[in-house]
Symmetry: C2
Subunit: 171 residues, 2 copies
Amino acid sequence: MALGEKDWLACCGSVKFAQEMVSAGPFSNYQEALNAAKDIWFNKVDVFGWLEAFAAHPQIGESPSQNHKSPISAQWSKGEQSTALATATDSTLQELYEWNARYREKFGFVFLIFASGRSTPEILAELKRRYQNRPIVEFKLAAEEQMKITELRLSKLFPANTTDISTTKIP
Amino acid sequence: MALGEKDWLACCGSVKFAQEMVSAGPFSNYQEALNAAKDIWFNKVDVFGWLEAFAAHPQIGESPSQNHKSPISAQWSKGEQSTALATATDSTLQELYEWNARYREKFGFVFLIFASGRSTPEILAELKRRYQNRPIVEFKLAAEEQMKITELRLSKLFPANTTDISTTKIP
């Protein structure tokens, strides 16, 4: 499958990540792409690239901005937060908003969490717990959450990701 | 002792670090200042502050630039590198220069090492070894080296740091 820089950027907003994925590809299946993505994200993208990717996310509980760099990413982000939004009340959303601001004040970047299937109270509890961390610990955790988000998004680029064509025997 | 933001900034080039040291002070001795410095550096300064402090250092083997933010820091940096400079040859300096560039290309920030008493060949070997690290591992190591440099510089702000006046018995 011929995927370009824009596709990889929709999975993870680091330009270095997207460029390295282009160099490492093309991939014949999801697992190959995922292995490359993990290697690139944890071994090749530097801390500035991590921060760049974090900055591409909307604040949790908020919609991606109109001028979001990647329309696909903005759409996916909305989908990933659908459980959270369905379980939110005005007061939990307000609390989430306040804790997001405290988090950003302490760490300098947006609170990042693999939100798929998680309710707003769950996310809020996790945010309060993680707020206690040292900046370096939280920085690493955010990078791990980013990888989980990337993993889910990569799977959307490979809809038929159950079988590796190259290992399928011809009957 | 009344020390100001400028003094702390000469020890560690993060503005947040310097401001927090002012808030935490005044300190009656070196040990008190050091304890506060460690707590602030590892628990309160965020990753942007770490990068800001790293950026305040000259490349190892090079003199601080003319327009260095802190003249005291520039002078100290020169002193800390005196062993390295005394043991350098043209070829090792050239190699150091090249590896510094490779390091910066991979990690995005300057190679940071507690250089006091270390020869150029030693520093070069350490640079080559550390170049193999993952970006996040190297980021943490650089922050630890920064703390060692800060520790040495703090001791210069407290010249009589052997005895805590408050515990000295009057004969």
